[in-house]
Homo-oligomer: 517 residues x 2
Amino acid sequence: MDRATLADRLAAELGTANVVSDPAELDAYLDPFPIGLDEEFAPALAARPGSVEEVQAVLRIASETQTPVWAVSRGKNNGYGGRSPRQPGSIVLHLERMDRVLEVDTVSGTALLEPGVTFEGLYAALQAAGGEFWPSVPDLSWGSVIGNALDRGMGYTAFGENNAALAGLEVVLAGGEIVRTGMGAMSGSRAWQIYRPGFGPSVEGLFSQSNYGVVTKAGIWLMRRPERWAAVDIAAFGEGDLAPLMDALRPLKLDGTIPGTVSTADVTGIASFIAPRSHWEAEFGFGPRDRLPADFTPRLMEQFGLGRWNMQFPLYGSRGVLAARIGEVRSAFERAVPGARVTIAEYDGDVPAAEVPEPHRTRAGIPGMYVERMPYWWGGRGGHIAVTPVSPITGEDALRLNRIVRRRFDEFGADWFSVFCGLGRHMLNIAQIMYDRDDADQAARSRELARVLIRDLAAEGYGEYRTHIALMDDVAASFDWNEHALGRLHGRIKDALDPAGILAPGKSGIWPGGGRP
Amino acid sequence: MDRATLADRLAAELGTANVVSDPAELDAYLDPFPIGLDEEFAPALAARPGSVEEVQAVLRIASETQTPVWAVSRGKNNGYGGRSPRQPGSIVLHLERMDRVLEVDTVSGTALLEPGVTFEGLYAALQAAGGEFWPSVPDLSWGSVIGNALDRGMGYTAFGENNAALAGLEVVLAGGEIVRTGMGAMSGSRAWQIYRPGFGPSVEGLFSQSNYGVVTKAGIWLMRRPERWAAVDIAAFGEGDLAPLMDALRPLKLDGTIPGTVSTADVTGIASFIAPRSHWEAEFGFGPRDRLPADFTPRLMEQFGLGRWNMQFPLYGSRGVLAARIGEVRSAFERAVPGARVTIAEYDGDVPAAEVPEPHRTRAGIPGMYVERMPYWWGGRGGHIAVTPVSPITGEDALRLNRIVRRRFDEFGADWFSVFCGLGRHMLNIAQIMYDRDDADQAARSRELARVLIRDLAAEGYGEYRTHIALMDDVAASFDWNEHALGRLHGRIKDALDPAGILAPGKSGIWPGGGRP
């Protein structure tokens, strides 16, 4: 069906104002940081439903016209494709108008949200409800709470793994059927947001990084505001300090002393939060095509009082528990990494946001835009993608990952930015690949670097936790055990739940009918 | 196919010793606490595979002969059907011979197990590995770690929800395909037991309380032995003290001060752990058909120094953290429940098991058989089933649940035993229905009591977390939102993964083809 007719049909259901088909306006539905040609991932149009019924209407029209649908919440998944669909010609189902905080339960500490609710919106609703509970906010708070959780993003309070804090989904399947997961499958349930598994097989995990349904409501667990909290920042000055840092961290993660997401950034990455490359080129006297000079790192460390590796995490507790934890953490890291600088700032749980310095805010669930400069390292309209392997939290893995990754960054002439995040029992190594989207050669080389790294890392047993739309097939291919048995299982479930294959073909490497486009 | 021919075909693959078809030996594969006729849930025979390949062989024969297969691990799921299959005439796939602890990772604190590994076996393996990590053991340690976790059973360390501690499954699907979930889907993965979600939709939850596959390996997260721990026991003496107990507990669960499973037992339930009803009949002078007399509860409390409600939980931490927590917990409960007795026993993390009194042991992951007398309350060969609604952790819910449940227990002439377990953000109210399996009338009335309660509770928004094979359809029917949308989704996935419908038809109320037997 031609675009105009499709737009008319959608407009008849959603209103003209909620269907975007003008090519100029559709630019907002392209990847802001493309690593290929726009045409590769260009939507046919975008539809902005205001209700579950309108989501059903869009899916019905999509089915009748055999048009694929790519759902985004706020559409701020930048670095992973933004709002661009994997399959060109898709309808982008943009859920930002469904932005109600449906319930805040200040007894059990949960909220029920629509997908258009941002971290800022949730924070405001929780403050209005008394501030007794905190959201888990990521570095950039303009995105959707649900979208971030479904894509397995991270926050910085005790609930660092936003996906693990989901509790109770409402999902519209491709055929329009509405399902509530877990205890929500009972009419009038008192425990939809309380107990995630439900009775019988738990289907909730099926809808993360998924093309099996459109999530229209989700419950989320909140963190109870502690009596006291602390922002711990550890600067370790030697390149090799990374290994003992991670080995000291692991037992403190295992026993829950250190909750949430522990971020450990190399100093080069931090440079990108401060200013673009051109600033440092002028400051330190190197050229726009030069490699970062050998003295770049030491000079940055000197100028900003930074470590070679900069770890940050929160501690929480009553006055007594926090005091004990601070002592234990300080002595563990000072013992493991002689010469490291451990800085600890303590706060009351109800400290006003304005009194918390910006770099500490996410650790108290306060939204912000701390790293918004990062994508513009190379100038212009910027660009970044990440390769992010999962590993145990060990120094040995951290060093091995850096060796694998750095070799290829150097080979491709990319500036090597490495951040390690420790969560639960796993570590994510975010290897940021920066580029200027308007430099077609650099963008193409960045894509190739990512593809090569995905293969290199898989050869050593490291899989990705999340990826850009252009790399989903590569990552899916790397999960190859028993002739891609899990991928085949994903495909069987896809075909059972979406036999017409209209929902997000290719998302996470899952294509209808087991095929490829 | 007749039983003898089927047995021959299985014996050709597994060896004669591993196929049980003699009717007398097959008694071991009947529910030890039946609430119906044996014929209702009688297997055709049992097969005991020794390897994944033999599991595949059994499934192949089952498919070829259209015989349903009911998988059990150790087969100690007593109170829920034991080893009996939901569908009579099934092959019981008894996995006890697959009992290897395949790996203990003392770096990241995980283990990889086969389904035949018992809690005792895991404990022994962890002790042999240095004792630095603890298993999460339930009241009875003879069962399978994996079986318990897949059925969403409970333990008593910081990892009270055994299902949530699963990390990485190997599953044989009905057609014989072997799938590894999460990061295990990558050959040579370094993170199969480290990071549960994997890339793309997470299928791991599909295999809990499920008939979608046979789990042949599973990873499990272990608790790191703390420096110190404490067993906290709180006796509250008034019937109405239950509400403030639960309301005081909730915030301490939300902020992680109290981890794991908090059990709060009424004193009548505790009587069943000590001695059968006949003992108390003699002791307190009432007859075998009499209601428990009004002075039963106060006399028990007096004689054993028990509360009307008896809460128990662990605390863990370094010396400093534990001391702070003990102070906070003591003052929170003494303030909330005036007159309650708070008893706290402190231990070093590495205290030898023999120095820990039996009622404290599960809180340090030490296996035992603490409640093994409980099923024999009514004498004879005993019997018990539970109705176990899920609710928020509030005093109001606890009192409402007791009102709903007690009215029916009284109406049916059953002795009312009530235990509340607080985990995560939910509470389970275990309403134990006791009977003598050899008293056909009492067993039948117990079944009817459970069915009525499932309906009563659902009408108030309370769903079950787990149930006996005879009640699975009743519980599934209670999850009725949007015309049983979740049940229909379960059915679609069932038909996609097991089109011949051979795996555990009726488990959790899921039948092949959406039908009924």
